[in-house]
Symmetry: C2
Subunit: 543 residues, 2 copies
């Protein structure tokens, strides 16, 4: 690893803008963006993917490898990525920082406490919860209905026992009511931090968050509770983007990591905009497949932040295509050209969808050793038929070298094709119409179904003045539909809208189409049991 | 503020041992102590106080001011202090970093997230809780009794609603049982971190923590749960001591801050021992008054760590002496020589107690503007009668200048009087005899009272092989007795032992003599409502 000061210097950031966190991590002061405001922005490229499968598609890996390759061919590039959550590291998955020759460094630090952003979000979230319950205990001047407290608590840990709890038991311990914990990445505070333009915007958004209803049905906000300023204080450092590097010393801004279902799943606006001032090309990613991640990136993040994406890279794998063509999980390593052909329908639809936003798109085929030459040729031929460039990516094994063609093709596309980006739907559509537009245009379903209670909530949100907000779809990532087993490119399904909730601070209406778990559990044998320090005090067993 | 690198250089720490957290905070690598192991230790001085009163005695303030003054008279001195908890900053109290000309800098940072140590402790604590509940959910191979889970959860926030809760409600959400949250500083993980000699010791202590009982009454430890290694990983950075500076640039190692009732209330052993290698004099403090803080410092911290304290400074104030002489809180500013005389009994006993440990002691009279010359003279005359040096300290108003006499007197004492430190009681005494010794010798009570259930627990701990552990008294800090209103120097009281609990990782038996609240609540108007960022992004309203 290079000292992070050297990485910062390589993109022209003076030391005065940096706060070091050890030798290899730092935060960038918000004044840098202000000082560079007259500098032109670089090109913004979204790396997204086909529907995710148990095999793993390597979207983060490809983003990192491609950023390395672009630098290798002389295009100054920064990766603007999400920061991982600590809790899941002790459950099943490894890190969220790429791997082998296309990974973020120092990966253990980034996956664990990093620069404390998630801890700060947890603190801010729980301060608000404590102040709400204290308000109830101290006389309840706002007449909050203890059965209608929307604001739960947050913890960056996989702990299913905290999903549904009763608090306030025992004499002098407050007002008894139901509550629960979500993992910190699912907190609206995380979404707010990621969508905020600056400190003032953060402060205003926090104040707008709806936390409860009164006995007479009025909304209570964090502003009413008097918590928004203190929360902003707790988030003062967390709002500053983090700078780290990849395995090849490519600069990476790693900042913010909201859930990709009940939130928009993109790294921070501040991080993205800072990167755009510092590089010719900025690669960023969005959660899950393009049906969720890219749609929200375009319709929520870019719309709110006034960002204009210049291109998109769709990551596919031969394995995931076969899986979408009906091959079961255990047989993905075997050649199966027929299933692959069938699975291409999934890719086709994502390509078509991205084009609906007016954004030029190319395909990256993330290479696995089990892929056959024939299989790769089949994918490339299909891309040719779609009129979309496709390149094989081998960044896991070879780092930037394995991404040179990909980088060159992207560069050519950025030079030749210009983006006519526009969101999919107008803010002026009603909430129901927005949902229907996404289901029809992106998921390609026949329509939506919702019960009277959900209809009433939608009407209430519109009456309260939230009808202009974009919608944030919470749906299974495995399928275009709301049913995880409908692989490939399903049609004629009806999406069941089970609930809608308001994230007034983040600025979207969450549309729940399934049972979304916002607090994961640990598996039978938690990964934690294998994680330890070795004799030299280095972490082993984390990945 | 000086850059922290400059402060570090001033005490001879090479940059390679430092991890910066911004410009003004850093962590010191554990290898420094190893590399300096042949260097002689400096002198260790405990700053303690008479029984605390609502007026505030300024123990931390005096420690900081005295460290500044010692440096001013040419004695290289480091203050080794506790790090504050974030939660209470949003409740009633201001910071825990001294104030005005005798404070730690950067005080806002230190009081809020600092270098993330408390967040790491919270994470480690809650990982263990999640793994225990996951064990129950995944088949409960250890046959843990869900009604006898001792390990609760932790949060660094004042939230009374979380004191007593029910977790695991709802289908698929684990096993329903009672639980609760304590504030992070009350976690045994904090005590363990503070008493650990090194990484290996930390790992072993974490494994020894008793977290539950099985159906057949056997103890279950963190080792059984398989959590100790992963917890050590989470605490990897938190174990490294933090270096900051005082308002005058005096180096301060601020590390660890356990509760002073259910834990021992002293800063970390690693921090103290590191400081002893770097300075001629190290000032450290312990929680509450000397009856709790000094006793535990001598009997738990120094005994476990093999530290040999060279002197003690007892902080008194005219106000606190009057309060102990019967003056009500609102009238402490009025001269009252009679009440002052009566209150001196409190000071006398603390001086006598410290001498019982074989440690030379002097008195620091922390000056308030309301003190009259006569009142100060009365205190000084009493000290002369006790044969103890007393100096007026005015470090709040004047910084080091206000502590010169104090510093010179301490220096003289360190040169002339040598410590014959020994703990109060032998490890070989039974648990009950240890408690009785403290009550008789330090509190000066007539004896203890305990019911059959507590007696049975004591016998059980002894049978389990924990009889050799020192005891950690949890008692009101306001009185020598277990009744907060018995001020001055009460006698003939009987201390009621309500419960005993085992902190096998920290290495002590906690003796509860009252109702100890381990999770504070917020007041009617939380301080949080006044805390905000100003236009420049600086924190205002925190103190």
């Amino acid at each position: 690893m290079k000292p992070i000061l050297e990485v910062a210097e390589s993109i022209g950031i003076a030391e005065k803008y940096l706060e070091l966190y050890g030798r290899y991590k730092c935060k960038i002061d918000l004044s840098l963006r202000e000082d560079l405001k007259n500098r032109p922005d670089g090109k913004l490229v979204l790396v997204t993917a086909m529907n995710p499968t148990p095999a793993g598609e390597g979207k983060t890996l490809t983003t990192i490898g491609l950023a390395q390759a672009l630098n290798a061919i002389g295009e100054p590039t920064i990766a603007a990525l999400r920061e991982p959550s600590l809790g899941p590291c002790f459950g099943m998955k490894g890190g969220a920082t790429g791997s082998n020759k296309a990974q973020l460094m120092p990966s253990e630090d980034i996956n664990l406490h990093f620069t404390g952003d998630l801890h700060a979000i947890t603190s801010a979230h729980n301060l608000l919860a404590a102040m709400i319950d204290n308000h109830l205990f101290q006389g309840n001047a706002l007449q909050i209905d203890s059965n209608r407290i929307l604001w739960k608590r947050a913890m960056d840990m996989n702990d299913r026992s905290l999903r549904q709890i009763v608090v306030g038991l025992g004499e002098g311990n407050g007002v008894v009511h139901e509550s629960g914990f979500m993992i910190t990445t699912a907190s609206e505070v995380m979404a707010v931090l990621c969508l905020s333009e600056n400190r003032r915007d953060l402060r205003e958004r926090l104040g707008r968050m709806v936390v409860a209803y009164t006995m007479s049905g009025e909304t209570v906000t964090a502003e009413h509770i008097g918590a928004a300023d203190a929360m902003t204080v707790l988030l003062k450092e967390a709002l500053k983007p983090n700078l780290v590097q990849t395995a090849e010393g490519t600069p990476a801004i790693v900042h913010g990591g909201p859930f990709a279902n009940i939130a928009h799943g993109c790294s921070s606006v501040i991080g993205t905009k800072t990167a755009l001032k510092l590089a010719d090309i900025v690669l960023t990613e969005a959660g899950f497949g393009a049906d969720l991640g890219a749609e929200k990136f375009f319709d929520i993040k870019c719309r709110q932040a006034g960002l204009k994406p210049d291109a998109a890279v769709l990551v596919v794998t031969v394995k995931a295509l076969k899986y979408n063509g009906g091959v079961p999980r255990g047989e993905l390593d075997k050649p199966n050209p027929e299933a692959l052909q069938a699975g291409l329908a999934n890719m086709n639809r994502h390509v078509d969808n991205i084009r609906k936003f007016g954004v030029p798109v190319m395909v990256a085929i993330n290479h696995f050793t089990s892929d056959t030459t024939e299989e790769i040729r089949i994918v490339q031929e299909q891309c040719a038929r779609l009129g979309v460039k496709a390149e094989l990516s081998d960044v896991w094994a070879r780092g930037s070298e394995g991404g040179i063609e990909l980088a060159e093709t992207l560069r050519t596309m950025l030079r030749r094709e210009s983006s006519r980006y526009a969101p999919l739907y107008s803010e002026r559509l009603g909430i129901r119409e927005k949902i229907e537009t996404i289901v029809r245009e992106i998921y390609r379903g026949a329509g939506i179904r919702l019960n009277a209670k959900v209809e009433a909530k939608i009407q209430e949100f519109e009456r309260q003045g939230f009808g202009h907000l974009p919608v944030c779809m919470a749906k299974t990532p495995s399928s275009f539909s709301d049913q995880p087993n409908l692989l490939g490119a399903p049609e004629n399904f009806v999406v069941q809208v089970r609930d809608v909730t308001l994230s007034a601070g983040a600025g979207f209406i969450v549309v729940l189409t399934g049972n979304i778990v916002t607090m994961p559990g640990l598996p039978k044998t938690p990964g934690a049991e294998q994680i330890q320090l070795d004799e030299q005090g280095e972490i082993v067993g984390l990945f």
